[in-house]
């Protein structure tokens, strides 16, 4: 894949990179669930989650800058979250001359904290796991094999299709075309039509090529990915610590009679 610039994967050889993909997938999914289940009033818990993720990033030698750069994906919802205190209902408070909704502030904090933790966890997963391995892991986690195969073909040919689209754009632009207003939609749409025909025909060729190489409906497994108990244990550190934090905080608060 030449045009790998949009991929998040960073090659490396750290304990996090070496973990079997299905362990990492399960760990990130459980971690995200724990984060979403945490009540928003528990500020300390969210700080601890962030520290846990920072620990993973350090272990995996993923530089903070690269994580931050990739977090721009979150910006649309950050802006939405920032708007909630202004448009929210309920009790209002005055902050620096602005009238803000108190439940709105809570909601904004809730979305910001949980979405950010989720995005960082996903970035770390994608940065330490090769896309192909991630899909093999998904298959080991009993995802429908057909779905995994479709995703494999998509990943494999995504760059080809994107490159095809880029060439069409270059061709359009070298003839002086830029899409400025709604009247230019037909031009863009015809490119999309041509792109569909090319994608579909490529799919047919790929299928014929596969048949001629003996494809019978399932891809052969050429890699043994069976994780050891130790690897599961290592992968379970992140969600395990998060869960322990959640339950611990809950227990402490119950003990001190706080709601």
């Amino acid at each position: 894949m030449s045009a790998g610039h949009h991929q998040l994967y960073r090659a490396g050889d750290t304990p996090v990179h070496r973990l079997p993909p299905q362990c990492k997938l399960a760990a990130v999914a459980v971690f995200a669930l724990v984060v979403v289940a945490t009540p928003r009033e528990w500020f300390a818990a969210f700080g601890a989650y962030a520290l846990l993720l920072a620990g993973v990033a350090v272990t995996a030698r993923v530089p903070a800058g690269s994580v931050l750069r990739r977090m721009v994906i979150e910006i649309p919802f950050v802006l939405f979250a920032l708007a909630i205190p202004f448009i929210g209902t309920g009790e209002r408070v005055q902050v620096a001359g602005l009238s803000l909704s108190l439940p709105g502030l809570w909601a904004a904090w809730n979305i910001l904290a949980k979405a950010t933790l989720g995005v960082v966890a996903s970035i770390l997963l994608a940065a330490t796991t090769e896309p192909r391995m991630l899909l093999l892991g998904a298959r080991r986690l009993r995802l429908p094999p057909m779905l995994v195969q479709i995703a494999m073909f998509m990943l494999r040919y995504m760059d080809v299709i994107l490159e095809e689209m880029r060439r069409m754009r270059v061709a359009r632009e070298s003839r002086g075309f830029t899409a400025r207003d709604a009247r230019h939609i037909p031009v863009v749409a015809r490119s999309a039509g041509a792109l569909f025909i090319r994608s579909y025909e490529r799919g047919e060729r790929v299928h014929l090529a596969m048949l001629s190489r003996g494809y019978t409906g399932s891809m052969p497994v050429i890699q043994d990915l069976t994780p050891s108990a130790g690897q599961w244990l290592l992968a379970g550190t992140l969600p395990g610590a998060a869960l322990a934090l959640l339950l611990g905080t809950w227990g402490l608060r119950a003990m001190w009679g706080m709601s």
Partner: protein
């Protein structure tokens, strides 16, 4: 519109996940009928196409640009089951490989952008094309299908937000703003879908799933003058069995529920619309931006859209669609001469 973690509470995230899993399971079975044993490579390539097309910016109005959702487009080109699979795979890949959309919100995202857009789009498309079958009708139906699919998705988002959203925003406000802005985006999506389908129809009509049965049957003329008409199902690749009835009914149901919900807001909560006009700056930007106006430079212009007016247009269009649905259903009840 990729929902991140923490936007919906755990209950809604998990139930939407169950809905998405069930929908994908149904479509895995259905896609085999649409694509035979070619499912994996074809759906994979179409998913890559959908992914690419979602990056295609098209100008909407007033300096804003929108992104294609592509659900209705995929449904018309490759069939509803395959379309849901493609959308689901695109969202999975975006969630896992690009950190776009939360992992716990994956179910919500697949439900909104995969199931709802395809169901609503394909339902509208079949309703129109089952009574009139011509190239023009297919292009027009593509426009209507894509137009309805975007606000349908936005309104189901609102419904989920009402059930288990984590922000205290008035539901009428959210519904009107989401419906209004997405109706505008839906017009762009409709235009681009219609022209795309028209282009494919002009060059490779055999590739458009929604246009099966449109081509003239293959006529074989022998040297001794005998003429054999080969039925379409016997030529080349086996044409899929038509099993669109559940999808059609589902689409009609979704459309009717949405129409009902929107008219409820229109009649029962007039100040909801006024509020949107007041708040248009914020929620208009948020909803529009969530759809993908990526550069911040576009951002200042988004407030220029009169969301209140767009909301009214949205309600009007949905009601018209509901009227068409009701009319079509009535006609089907009377005359059994329509092709199924």
């Amino acid at each position: 519109m990729h929902v991140p973690d923490g936007f919906f509470n755990l209950a809604v995230s998990v139930s939407a996940g169950a809905v998405a899993a069930a929908g994908v399971a149904v479509c895995l079975r259905g896609a085999r009928r649409e694509l035979d044993d070619r499912t994996a490579p074809m759906a994979g390539l179409v998913a890559a196409f959908v992914f690419a097309v979602q990056m295609l910016n098209f100008p909407v109005a007033a300096g804003t640009s929108g992104h294609l959702l592509g659900g209705a487009l995929a449904a018309i080109l490759v069939g509803p089951y395959t379309a849901v699979l493609c959308m689901a795979v695109v969202l999975l890949v975006q969630g896992f490989f690009f950190a776009d959309g939360g992992l716990t919100a994956l179910g919500v995202n697949i439900t909104l952008m995969g199931l709802v857009t395809v169901l609503a789009g394909w339902g509208v498309f079949r309703l129109i094309t089952r009574s009139v079958r011509s190239r023009a009708a297919i292009t027009a139906a593509s426009f209507a299908a894509a137009l309805v699919s975007v606000p349908a998705s936005a309104l189901v988002f609102t419904l989920l937000f009402w059930i288990g959203g984590t922000a205290p925003v008035e539901i009428g406000t959210v519904a009107a703003a989401m419906g209004g802005v997405h109706t505008l985006i839906g017009i762009g999506e409709g235009l681009i879908t219609a022209v795309t389908v028209g282009t494919v129809l002009a060059t490779r009509p055999d590739l458009v799933y929604g246009a099966r049965g449109l081509a003239a049957p293959l006529v074989l003329r022998g040297a001794d003058g005998d003429v054999t008409v080969v039925p379409e199902g016997r030529v080349g690749v086996r044409t899929p069995v038509r099993r669109s009835r559940p999808f059609l009914l589902g689409g009609v149901g979704v459309t009717l529920v949405l129409a009902g919900a929107v008219s409820f807001f229109a009649s029962g909560d007039p100040d909801g619309l006024e509020r949107v006009a007041e708040d248009e700056g914020f929620i208009g930007q948020a909803a529009d931006h969530a759809f993908g106006a990526w550069t911040l430079a576009d951002y200042g212009d988004v407030g220029g859209i009169p969301v209140g007016i767009a909301g009214i247009i949205g309600v009007g269009i949905t009601l018209i669609v509901a009227g068409v649905v009701a009319y079509a259903v009535r006609r089907r009840g009377h005359g059994g001469d329509l092709p199924v």
